[in-house]
Amino acid sequence: MATKRKVTNLTEVANITCVIQKGLADTVNSSLLDVGVQGATVHYGVGTGVRERMGILGIAVDVEREIMSVLVPMDQVDRIFERIFLAANLDTPGNGYIFVTPLLQAATYIPPHLLND
């Protein structure tokens, strides 16, 4: 007999996305792991920014960025937002930006002992 499957919906969740310099995602991720924030995802993208000139022909190089997304509880948004801001040096021009999207609901695996609590 099949076990009954249940979806546990999480509410009061936000998605923090940051567009940062290529190579910085690991640093930011480590900074988040230090405070117990897990599950960040990283992918590459092309953003607006400084295009370096290479050689005498002035060949433009694509502005490749790393984009990091992490789901966080709504009550911790400010704290994690500020941590990413500092870890990614976003107070320096050209280093990137960050934004927060509120989510209506989210779902993932939740360990049974947490569900029982």
Binding site: V19, D34, G45, A60, I67, L86, Y97
Partner: protein, 132 residues
């Protein structure tokens, strides 16, 4: 792993003011035919630097693979732009018209409300150059 940019380290040196912009929208655009690079440049000229895109694969709504059963090089791009709420309608319309989103098989555009964001400040002494 330690990180030199912890809140404590920064607080010891000097306090950092973290901008808190709350009145913004995120435009998300799935472009089945690509072309986001050009729009990125146009958005920059309109003062929107908070935009990026990436390539994805998938099946466009209402269109089968052009190469039959063979693998197809994906042209689809996803464009995201963070814009102030009062500019959102204008930028939305600009993207909609640029990509002919009123035609079938061109793409989709959506708008999301954001609760906090940051401007992308570019270095003043360096110019943006579009890829030709």
């Amino acid at each position: 792993m330690s990180n030199e940019h912890t809140e404590e380290a920064v607080l010891e040196d000097k306090p950092v003011v973290i901008p808190n912009i709350t009145y913004t929208r995120m435009l998300t655009c799935i472009l089945y035919e690509g072309g986001a690079e050009k729009v990125l440049e146009e958005l920059h000229h309109k003062g929107v630097n908070e935009a990026y895109y990436y390539n994805v694969r998938g099946n466009p709504i209402g269109r089968a693979s052009l190469a039959g059963d063979l693998p197809e090089m994906p042209k689809t791009e996803v464009l995201h732009a963070v814009v102030s709420a009062d500019q959102a309608d204008y930028i939305y319309r600009f993207i909609y018209e640029t990509f002919n989103l009123n035609q079938p098989g061109m793409g989709v555009i959506t708008v999301n409300r954001l609760i906090r964001s940051l401007p992308n400040v570019l270095p003043a002494d360096l110019q943006y150059e579009a890829v030709g």
